[in-house]
Symmetry: C2
Subunit: 212 residues, 2 copies
């Protein structure tokens, strides 16, 4: 099943909860965005988990060092998944993988700004609890840098893939075609005039794609 | 003048303030560590700035995307310097440089886990308000990975350099020899039985080195 992850960024915690309340039926994973964590700390993760205890909560902590300490913070706050930068030292990534495994948690490796060779090395770690996130930065999106096609699901049945960065209803079909495991949507929902309508529409396409 | 930066990590905000109060005369820059920011949010930066308004406060925000938004958060909280990952997309680094400049702030580029070629490309940006931080991760330190000699000040008079990662009184002399602009010390002070004694000793060596 292809999942939808709602990325909550550039909001207060209360705004994030209010927004999520409206669209919660149409999303599978709730992402507490890096901007919420850096602005409000772990309270952002624990408040979202308390508000939506039955949903998977991803803490987009973007670990780049201090692996075990950061993961412990996230797990104590109720996170089900955390993120680590693919550009971190291999030891940091390895520690995240091991510590997530020991705690029965999933982990997402953020492939932001990595070249093909660096990605290949990371893919060697593929397992059922590890997601690789093909991610275009906000800074690139805002400057209108076009996304390059980065992978095709047909190449690789093993890896679990998430796609993130400026995905909208208009651009959704090309990502669905690539058959990722998770499609991450942020501002297309959070900044929409009618977030419910957008979330419903995205969900219809994404869940519909599973039955094709 | 070679400066000492006190890195505050793995502490509560109150512990960080209490510790800093004891050693504040022996340090030049107070670093609100990444772990404080991720655990407590921007409150960690604003409380440290309020407690030590005449000191330079570095927010170790480790920006890797969302440059302008994160820098605004830090500046509103009272930060004088912020950090950006050298592994971020070049656009993100460029935006940090420009936005720091527009706000009369200094910026530190964290060279964690970059190779020589990647560092060289970043050094092209060198100016008086830009620090390059030669940084060994906590995760490497804790696994006992030895530090490689990474630069010699004599090679390059222009670049402003900071050195970070597990520096102690014992290892200090080799770093002083390299003549960085900033020596960053964390656990050697914060975890010491007598933080004041250690800070005083480090300060004596570092400030003494300026008069050699």
């Amino acid at each position: 099943m292809m999942k939808i992850q709602l990325a909550l960024d550039r909001l207060t915690i209360n705004q994030a909860i209010a927004l999520t309340n409206k669209v919660v039926d149409f999303v599978d994973v709730i992402e507490v965005g890096t901007s919420l964590i850096k602005e409000f700390g772990m309270g952002s993760v624990s408040e979202l988990k308390q508000a939506f205890p039955t949903k998977q909560i991803l803490a987009d902590i973007k670990t780049i060092d201090n692996a075990r300490y950061e993961l412990e913070l996230c797990y104590q706050a109720g996170a089900d998944i955390t993120t680590v930068m693919g550009s971190a030292h291999p030891l940091t990534i390895e520690q995240c993988i091991q510590f997530a495994q020991a705690n029965n948690k999933d982990l997402m490796i953020d492939l932001l700004n990595l070249n093909a060779h660096q990605k290949e090395q990371l893919f060697a770690n593929a397992d059922d609890h590890l997601y690789f996130c093909e991610h275009i930065s906000k800074d690139e999106q805002e400057l209108g840098i076009p996304r390059k096609k980065t992978f095709s699901r047909r190449d690789d049945k093993l890896r679990r893939i998430a796609i993130a960065g400026g995905i909208t209803i208009q651009t959704l079909p090309q990502y669905i075609q690539q058959q990722p495991n998770i499609i991450i949507v942020g501002s297309a929902i959070t900044q929409a005039d009618d977030p419910v309508e957008v979330a419903k529409e995205l969900s219809k396409h994404i869940r519909g794609a599973d039955h094709e």
